[in-house]
């Protein structure tokens, strides 16, 4: 499968070589062909997309520049608010709700000339690692439709992998961009916490959530980061200033870059074929002039435990507002309290209920210090251990996911085995750092493997430099095969 990248589409549209409408129709054609099989979307907004593409074409015809993403189709995860367009979070509780506003990232994509084609499927409220927790049915992996695409942004990853759109947006609370990117063989970025506005992103774990792109290429991902990122006064946790100038440094190479392989992410639980690909990536970076060594970051082993205290705690509070009073579904009952209970019982799926209950318990009087308090201490420890590693290394690498894409239904019976999927991605969210997944060949089953590049807060430039070198090495390797 090979599809046009966003940069070349935008270049041809801006130059007047192709129209945005032609580009859109080509992508809508592919959606028509395979969407029934893949189910990447909760909603395809064909009419709106055609109107947007026509406006882009009109701008070009009038001699105006529609922007760096002129005519580029983009798929939006269905937990990002889109004005007047249903935003469901793949939950029955929000069915039919149309936000009266666009998320900041959606506004910025539109301002750059991108053409939104639809809202992509996800694990309900972004809680899951396989997109099987969607109230509207699972998304399938375009590389093998018996497999999951990963999650929670499975729809956005699959949309890019299937050629439905060259770029898409997802959100990453514990790996929800990087893990599906790895499983679907595309690039996925979780920027530093605060670099991309959360305004209009339906909250799951507010101190962990971050919006980021999926793309075929590292360069496309870098461009989308610069377009959607940068300060937003509407998000109090937004970092002042622009997104680091990653596109300028993509061809800087890695000569002299210090790269660490995280020891704790290479041992138990990591499939040997996946670990082998990470070693191959390390060799490629070394061959390009980087110094590569193993490094221990001990606190990452506590990541999963801390995450499943912090994220559910915040989620239990964030999801309280779905009470049937003001928006979304309501199940009528005799009293207000019974109405709220009936609405939430019918509206939320099992995994969401599990995490709300867990989070409520974690925050309860008498347990708060032991659970939430301890988890916050682990976050501090996590930052300290990463800080120590980043004194010696510019970036770190690891597997993104312990395995390649697993079969649909394989891990739904036991939540714990599902949670273990995120063991390599979660520490970055707890620390508030940056990380991305780059496709780096395939596993023994022929399915994509992703290598994760981790960087400290605001370390996007070295991260993208390493990612660009890995992308080139993977391409060369593939060509040599």
């Amino acid at each position: 499968m090979s599809f046009a990248d966003a940069l070349s589409i935008a270049a041809s549209v801006r130059a007047g070589d192709r129209t945005a409408t032609e580009v859109l129709e080509e992508h809508l054609g592919r959606i028509a062909e395979r969407e029934t099989e893949i189910h990447a979307f909760n909603l395809v907004t064909e009419q709106d997309a055609r109107a947007t593409a026509a406006a882009v074409d009109a701008a070009v015809a009038a001699g105006n520049d529609p922007g760096p993403l002129a005519g580029v189709p983009v798929a939006i995860k269905d937990n990002l608010c889109t004005r007047g367009v249903p935003t469901t979070c793949s939950s029955k509780i929000l069915e039919g709700w149309r936000p009266p506003y666009d998320a900041t990232v959606v506004q910025r994509l539109a301002a750059a000339g991108a053409v939104a084609v639809g809202k992509t499927n996800l694990d309900e409220f972004a809680m899951g690692s396989s997109t099987e927790n969607s109230a509207f049915g699972p998304t399938r992996n375009p590389h093998d439709t018996s497999r999951v695409p990963g999650g929670s942004s499975g729809g956005s990853a699959a949309a890019v992998a299937a050629g439905f759109a060259p770029i898409s947006l997802g959100s990453d609370t514990g790996g929800s961009i990087r893990q599906p990117a790895a499983l679907c063989g595309v690039v996925g970025v979780k920027p530093t916490y605060g670099l991309v506005s959360r305004l209009g992103l339906v909250a799951f774990g507010s101190s962990l959530d971050q919006v980021g792109p999926f793309a075929h290429t590292v360069a496309d991902a870098a461009l989308v980061c610069e377009v959607v990122g940068g300060h937003d006064a509407g998000d109090s946790t937004s970092i002042p200033g622009d997104f680091p100038a990653v596109t300028e440094h993509l061809s800087d190479g890695v000569s002299g870059l210090r790269v660490g392989i995280v020891t704790e992410m290479m041992g138990e639980g990591i499939a040997p074929d996946v670990a082998a690909r990470v070693r191959a990536a390390a060799a490629a970076l070394a061959a390009a002039g980087a110094t590569v060594e193993e490094v221990s970051v001990p606190a990452v082993t506590f990541g999963l435990s801390a995450y499943y205290l912090v994220a559910p705690a915040e989620a239990s509070s964030n999801l309280s507002r779905y009470d049937g009073v003001r928006f979304g579904n309501r199940i009528e009952a005799a009293t207000t309290g019974e109405m709220m209970t009936a609405t939430r019982t019918a509206g939320f799926g099992d995994e969401v209920k599990r995490r709300i209950m867990l989070g409520t318990f974690v925050l309860s009087a008498g347990y708060f210090d032991a659970f939430y308090g301890t988890a916050q201490k682990v976050r501090t420890l996590m930052r300290q251990d990463f800080d120590a590693a980043y004194e010696q290394f510019d970036v770190l690498i690891s597997p993104t996911s312990p395995t390649t894409a697993f079969a649909i239904g394989d891990k739904t019976a036991d939540p714990m085995t599902m949670y273990l999927n995120d063991i390599c991605t979660i520490p970055t969210n707890l620390a508030g750092h940056a990380a991305m997944s780059v496709p780096f060949g395939t596993g023994d089953d022929g399915l994509p493997v992703g290598v994760q590049v981790l960087a400290p807060a605001l370390g996007e430039i070295p991260m993208f430099r390493a990612a660009a070198v890995l992308e080139a090495a993977a391409l060369a390797e593939g060509g040599a095969k």
């Binding site: 992103l201 509070s317 507002r321 009073v325 709220m340 939430y372």
Partner: protein, 472 residues
């Protein structure tokens, strides 16, 4: 019910919520304005719509700092927390408040009588919407349906928590009145208890005099005026004393003051209290105003009521408790200016205290006010005439001499007054007899008679003195 105050001591601590006079809400750009058509002062955050985020209103922080400084608090680094509970008028089903680290801590407030009350803390939080329960007598339990107006949701509140330093209903009323004056003086609040822009919860306990430990307290809600505050405290203290004296114990409760029956009623007991699952609000960052901002606010803070009372009392020699009302009416500057023009301090304050309740009094010309006081102290106008002239000055802004002349007020010859007094005594021998036997109440009869006969020109004090002289 009344309490034997020789045996029992009442202990009161007040929590006062005040809405802050900001242009917009605490965390959004929706307008902060009382009233309005239901659900018109709203935006996505006010409704708690998915994807909305709070952004802190700087003006609210500034007002909180002003209040903190006015209450001698430490203004400190603070953080917001979520207080989680389900209720239809709470749009996000959590309230953004401050918990561990409030913006203001450890202050004090001086009452007009000189007592000093400790302030534990003052913290910022958002208000809730308003529920109206339709049918079933307006209580949620039996209502047919409920309506919610979110205009008030998200309005900035400052909760000022006083220490349990108050020892009577009277002190509690004075505390709230003083706090209200301070809030109005610094521009933080309009101080309207009846409209709910200031709301008072009072914690009441009782203990036997001499006991070191505090008794079990009850929290009283729904106190909407200074008058109900006093009544509620007195009722509640008496209820608790009755319980203890009849061998029962006070249970820690939240109680509702009912204005109509003049009683407090159980809302919930401590055991039923919610677990609010407080945790740090991840959508906001900490507030650290820093010394520069704090000093900038301090520099523009107006002179506060307590300082103004001390100034007026010191400069006039009039005791503190008598100048309180003058300062509350905002007439202290006028008095000081009139005194600077040569008016007698005591007479000036007395007029401001008794004869200047009209709101327009603040616009009086200090020089004319001083001239009036001088006419009176110079004996050209009686006290009664001066009061009449002053009232007209407030109304028209005229000069006192002109008004007095127009009314035909001029000093009476003492001989004329003696003749009238003697005539009155002769005409009412029985009353005169009672006066001579020491019936003080009859004095008014003679003074009133003289006033009537002179058309109010007579000086009351001179009449009293003449009567005394005639009695011998």
């Amino acid at each position: 019910m009344s309490i034997d105050l020789d045996a029992w001591e009442i202990v009161v601590g007040l929590e006062v919520h005040t809405e802050l006079l900001t242009r917009t809400k605490l965390f959004s750009s929706a307008i902060n304005e009382f009233g309005g058509e239901p659900n018109t002062h709203i935006d996505p955050l006010t409704l708690g719509l998915p994807g909305s985020l709070p952004v802190l209103n700087e003006q609210a922080v500034e007002l909180a700092i002003r209040v903190g400084l006015a209450l001698n608090c430490e203004v400190q680094r603070s953080v917001f927390a979520r207080k989680n509970y389900f209720y239809p008028d709470l749009p996000k089903d959590y309230q953004i408040s401050q918990f561990d680290l409030p913006i203001c801590a450890e202050g004090s407030l001086e009452l007009p009588n000189g007592k000093v009350v400790g302030i534990e803390r003052a913290h910022l939080e958002e208000d809730t919407g308003k529920s109206t329960h339709v049918g079933g007598g307006g209580r949620i339990h039996d209502a047919q349906h409920s309506l919610v107006d979110y205009n008030r949701a998200g309005v900035p509140l400052l909760e000022i928590v006083g220490k349990p330093d108050l020892r009577s209903a009277e002190d509690a009323r004075a505390y709230v009145a003083e706090l209200r004056s301070i809030l109005v003086a610094v521009g933080a609040s309009d101080g309207k208890l009846e409209e709910g822009s200031m709301r008072v919860d009072c914690n009441v306990s009782v203990r036997r005099r001499g006991d070191a430990e505090l008794g079990t307290r009850c929290e009283i809600k729904n106190v909407n005026s200074l008058r109900s505050l006093g009544r509620a405290i007195e009722y509640e203290a008496a209820r608790q004393v009755d319980l203890i004296e009849s061998g029962e114990r006070v249970r820690q409760q939240t109680r509702h003051w009912n204005e109509d029956d003049g009683r407090t009623h159980t809302l919930r007991t401590k055991e039923e209290a919610d677990d609010y699952r407080y945790f740090t609000e991840p959508d906001l960052v900490e507030i650290d105003p820093g010394p520069e901002w704090i000093e900038r606010v301090r520099a523009v803070l107006p002179m506060l009521p307590a300082a103004r009372r001390h100034r007026l009392s010191t400069e006039t020699g009039v005791p503190l408790e008598r100048v309180a009302l003058v300062v509350e009416r905002g007439l202290d500057e006028l008095c000081l200016a009139a005194i600077a023009e040569g008016a007698d301090p005591e007479r000036t304050v007395t007029h401001a205290e008794h004869n200047l309740s009209d709101a327009k009094a603040a616009d009086l010309d200090p020089a004319k006010f001083a001239a009036l006081v001088q006419l009176e102290t110079g004996g050209e106008l009686t006290a009664t005439q001066a009061k009449t002239v002053l009232a007209e000055m407030v109304e028209t802004g005229g000069a006192p001499a002109d008004i007095a002349a127009a009314k035909g007020f001029e000093a009476m010859e003492s001989g004329e007054l003696e003749g009238i007094v003697d005539g009155l005594i002769a005409a009412h021998p029985e009353e005169w007899q009672r006066y001579c036997e020491g019936d003080g109440k009859i004095t008014g009869f003679f003074v009133g008679g003289v006033m009537k006969a002179t058309g109010g020109k007579a000086d009351g004090k001179a009449v009293t003195a003449l009567l005394q002289a005639r009695k011998g």
